[in-house]
């Protein structure tokens, strides 16, 4: 795949998962799953280190040979994970950051929708549209 985006609930089950190219979807799920440990580690490190970083954006979680995994966690402990192909060098940290920001904004709208039940998978078309836009942009 070129790029994949996942939203994980507080209790660590997926709320939304989408990736470009379906043949390697399983690998994408696996990558997101393994990244959760790194997210957990980063969250629990708060207060222990001197340079107390408490930004919502967690940065690059871990790089491997073929892809890069970025993480973001909201105050409600919902995690966003973006996976991009390593060959995609045009993508800067700032752009990833603004992608997360956009995702978070849209997610907030979903949460404030009275017809959405918190904890249910995200079925919002508006959210879907935002994600599609990002995939086109980065893919």
């Amino acid at each position: 795949w070129r790029v994949g985006i996942a939203v994980i609930a507080k209790e660590n089950y997926p709320l939304y998962i989408r990736s470009v190219a379906s043949q390697s979807e399983l690998k994408f799920h696996y990558t997101v799953h393994t990244s959760l440990d790194v997210v957990e580690e980063k969250i629990s490190a708060v207060g222990k280190s001197l340079g107390d970083q408490r930004e919502l954006y967690l940065g690059l979680l871990y790089p491997t040979e073929d892809y890069k995994v970025y993480g973001y966690v909201t105050n409600s402990k919902v995690k966003f994970v973006i996976v991009v192909d390593s060959s995609n060098t045009s993508l800067r940290d700032n752009e990833i950051r603004s992608m997360f920001r956009k995702l978070h904004n849209s997610f907030t709208d979903v949460m404030c929708n009275p017809f959405h039940n918190p904890g249910d998978p995200i079925q919002s078309k508006a959210f879907d549209g935002i994600v599609s836009g990002m995939m086109v942009q980065t893919g």
Partner: protein, 158 residues
Amino acid sequence: MADEAPFQFLHSEVIQYVFGASDSGDAETGRNITKVESMGFRVGQGLIERLTKETSRFKDELDVMKFICKDFWTCLFKKQIDNLRTNHQGIYVLQDSKFQLLSHLSAGKQYLDQAPKYLAFTCGLVRGALSNLGVKSIVTAEVSIMPACKFQVMIQKI
């Protein structure tokens, strides 16, 4: 000034709608209070999601409670909680000496028995906000002289 009025009117209307005009039995009143509280819960969940969008991650429980007392309360009632106490064992008492939703009832003791209706929604708001931030709690309210009001938050340890 102008944007607090619609919330106050809507809130009284919700209570009017849920409880109805007639005085019903205790069981019915209890059920209705639960209903209003769960409405507040859902609103609290959504609201806190929006309010914490720009803030950095919270350090601990006390940090979360301070946010509720300052930013959350200001957003809802245009003022902060006047006094926050804790026993550092999971009990927090939030004191508001002039609670907005009670301020239009006559001060003193005349309508004291009606007060629980007007506090249920706010209890739900606080519980919903905390729950979305990962803190399970029980929130109760207490009034002795209107319009002062105390909210007690008991954190449920998992």
